[in-house]
Symmetry: C2
Subunit: 320 residues, 2 copies
């Protein structure tokens, strides 16, 4: 449970000590800093000692005659001064009018995005800002990335075969893909299924399973299991893949957290393998060059907050 010491640092640290340290450096002395701060000398002395304990570095060499700031101390001072600057500007930053947030968000998204977390977040954001409007355009992942590059939408949500330059990305969630067959498939009612049973089976596939695409890993999985060499059905839409599996056009891959309810309802059945399944990241991408509207900025901020609060493990959708 305990994180490495490095990670805990900002939590254990008393942030006010940074301000005190800044003053000590600027006033060149503990006594002078104490005067400046309206405190007594032992107070500041103790504070500095606490900070040195937290950082694990000697920051200032202080003797009756000497007062020298060590190299770590110099570096720390620079940062403290910056932080102080940010905090100084907070009042004016907060002085935005409280008018209802208005504006429009155009979101480019792929069909296969299914995430409780994201729906939940969207719900909360729309409740908090009832005057923000939304448009969703559904596209293939590649086109989503292109639209964001061309600044034609506020954000994109899609799969990525490689993280593009010039775009900011954050991982919304992760999913695993498993193989499934429909009720009409002979294997659906088999007692046990061995990997060999899949040999030569026809299959349906996402267009993005092609070599070089973001779902490339799925085609590797198929190759590993020895399925047929060519597809029998193809689509870029998750819903159509699901339809084709249930219609028994072929075996196909689905995100297991999406398939789960269909499995529970007895519509489809998962096939081997059950471990080492391909994992895929679903990204929210933005164009840093875009001049963001208030609504877009607020959305991004809220989204970052939401993602910070949830560990990536908890946004990794696996069978529990």
């Amino acid at each position: 449970m305990s994180l490495p010491q490095q990670q805990r640092f900002p939590w254990n640290l008393d942030w006010n000590l940074l301000r005190t340290f800044m003053v000590v450096v600027e006033q060149r002395g503990i006594s002078k800093a104490a005067d400046f701060l309206g405190l007594k000398q032992p107070t500041v002395s103790a504070a500095l000692k606490r900070l040195e304990l937290s950082t694990g570095k000697q920051l200032i060499i202080r003797k009756p005659n000497e007062f020298t700031i060590t190299r770590p101390g110099q570096a720390l001072y620079t940062e403290c001064a910056k932080i102080f600057g940010s905090i100084s500007q907070l009042p004016s930053l907060l002085d935005v009018d409280k008018a209802e947030l208005r504006g429009h968000l155009s979101i480019a998204i792929t069909s296969s995005v299914i995430s409780e977390h994201f729906d939940d977040f969207l719900n909360r954001f729309s409740q908090a800002h009832p005057h923000v409007t939304y448009s969703f355009s559904v596209n293939e992942s590649e086109d989503v990335a292109t639209m964001i590059s061309q600044n034609r939408a506020s954000f994109g949500i899609c799969l990525l075969s490689k993280v593009p330059q010039n775009l900011n990305t954050m991982v919304l969630y992760r999913e695993y893909f498993g193989l499934y067959c429909g009720t009409r498939h002979p294997l659906f009612h088999a007692k046990t299924i061995t990997p060999d049973d899949l040999r030569g089976e026809p299959f349906v596939a996402f267009q993005t399973e092609a070599e070089g695409g973001p779902l490339e890993a799925i085609s590797h999985l198929r190759a590993r299991m020895g399925l047929a060499n060519t597809w029998r059905g193809v689509s870029s839409s998750l819903n159509e893949i699901r339809r084709m599996i249930m219609a028994n056009i072929g075996i196909g891959a689905l995100p297991i957290h999406v398939a789960k309810q269909d499995v529970a309802a007895g519509h489809i059945r998962q096939l081997p393998p059950y471990a080492d399944l391909p994992m895929v990241n679903i990204y929210l991408i933005t164009n840093p060059a875009r001049r963001k509207s208030d609504a877009e900025a607020a959305f991004l901020t809220a989204c970052e907050a939401a993602l910070s609060a949830i560990d990536i493990e908890d946004r990794t959708y696996a069978l529990e």
Copy 2:
């Protein structure tokens, strides 16, 4: 004495509340934040209330059912997240090796820089870093600025007629210029001196007193007092101006804090006017495009700290 409320903000604020606020936003709730922080709910509730009191803004609308972050709250969260980020990176930042700072500082400076504060700072810095070496090249202000633009020196110290684009500047100190005459000048022993006594008097001048130069204000002063139309001596060096004044080549302007000791020693005498004297800033200029060495970065940091500690009023050299 009391600064505007805005200025006091970073001092009055408990910086740790920023961290708490960040968690409240990310966890979407006071109770959840309390769990996360290992505290109890009323504690966090009180903390948030304190923060809202400090900022003077409602940050979160919290009711048993509702949890909405206001616009100021959103803005604050963004900043808090940034600050948290900086603090998280502190440990690695402080992990610089403690080896003695070495390196060289090449400083381009004008002749007329005379400042206890700067000498004092330089002394302390050189004591703290005995292995740093220095070279001073004395040039006219304009050339100093050019050298820095061309990245041919670490820093420059000079007068500026206008603050240049593309260079960072900070005011080292301010000085006032007064008019002086030497012992051999008839006015030196006059009982009283009226402004009219200066009419038509010959004078000596800094080259930078020319129209458009940084000391332009001095030529305006001369015009106001009705001195002769053309100069009798000119130099870019303060020492030579001083020499010419004492040699009675003409009346001349000197920084009053520099002239003070000569006045006290009976070498020169100040002439009217005694008020509304031209004020001049002496700048330390740096080239932001320069890739700074460790020594240069440390020097700048230390210099910023020193300047932050001393109010500009106290770096304004006037007769006290």
